[in-house]
């Protein structure tokens, strides 16, 4: 499944629903689709649109969904400059707890089984396994 998502934060919810509703039954448990996949994909799309494409309506974010036996891989790629995923502070430390931003990657890492980035840092792969 391939999806080109306009760089508009208002469409994130619809894009997430489109992907989630097109997963074949039994690929992941309904609970993992309804919460883990939806939340992690919304994070990845939101980050790509906000930071990768700067909410420029002329640009798009590409989503590719690969289905394997007992595994779903979702690639979210923007055409931005990329970022260093290792450079994000711990949002649970006391000095960061009341900050409005900075939890996205932390949340993704806790909701999926594996997170990988491309070399440039403008593409993320979310891996969710059955079970």
């Amino acid at each position: 499944m391939k999806l080109d998502v306009p760089s508009d934060l208002r469409v994130v919810g619809d894009a997430v629903e489109l992907v989630a509703s097109h997963l074949p039954p039994g690929t992941l448990s309904p609970r993992r689709i309804s919460f883990n996949l939806r939340t992690a994909l919304a994070e990845a799309l939101g980050n790509a649109i906000r930071y990768g494409t700067g909410e420029d309506p002329r640009r798009i974010v590409r989503v590719l969904v690969e289905l394997g036996r007992d595994v779903v891989r979702i690639y979210v790629v923007d055409d931005g400059a990329g970022f260093d995923p290792g450079g994000t502070p711990d949002p649970t430390s006391p000095e960061n707890l009341e900050r409005e931003f900075g939890r996205g990657l932390f949340v993704i890492r806790h909701l999926v089984d594996d997170v990988a980035f491309n070399e440039k840092g403008n593409g993320i792969c979310l891996t969710l396994r059955a079970g």
Partner: protein, 111 residues
């Protein structure tokens, strides 16, 4: 996805979140609550019993609203989190920032 605001007889504003609270709709929630704060309301309950998922932008707006409400001498309580959402609050340690109750009725009774 929609937000509903109702004021109970003691003046507490109960905000219902149907669907999801994410990057695409968080500003709408923020503005509705800030409008109620501007109009004089000081006690708020956000009811997540009909909420499927919340992303980090949604969490962030709750943190921001809580601060603004506290600055005005008010209080924001959260209610109705399902097991997954409760886990999300715990792993981000935001459960330590908010008063969280099982139901909106319990939150109202605690004011």
């Amino acid at each position: 996805m929609r937000f509903t605001l109702k004021k109970d007889k003691s003046g507490v504003v109960v905000v219902g979140v149907e669907g999801q609270l994410i990057v695409g709709n968080r500003q709408e929630l923020k503005q509705k609550v800030l409008d109620a704060l501007e109009e004089g309301s000081r006690k708020f309950v956000i009811d997540f019993s009909k909420t499927g998922y919340i992303d980090s932008s949604g969490l962030g707006v709750l943190v921001s609203l809580s601060k603004k409400i506290r600055e005005q001498g008010g209080e924001l309580r959260l209610a109705g989190l399902n097991a997954d959402l409760q886990t999300l609050f715990e792993l981000t340690k935001l459960d330590t920032l908010f008063a969280i109750t099982r139901t909106a009725e319990e939150a109202l009774a605690a004011f």
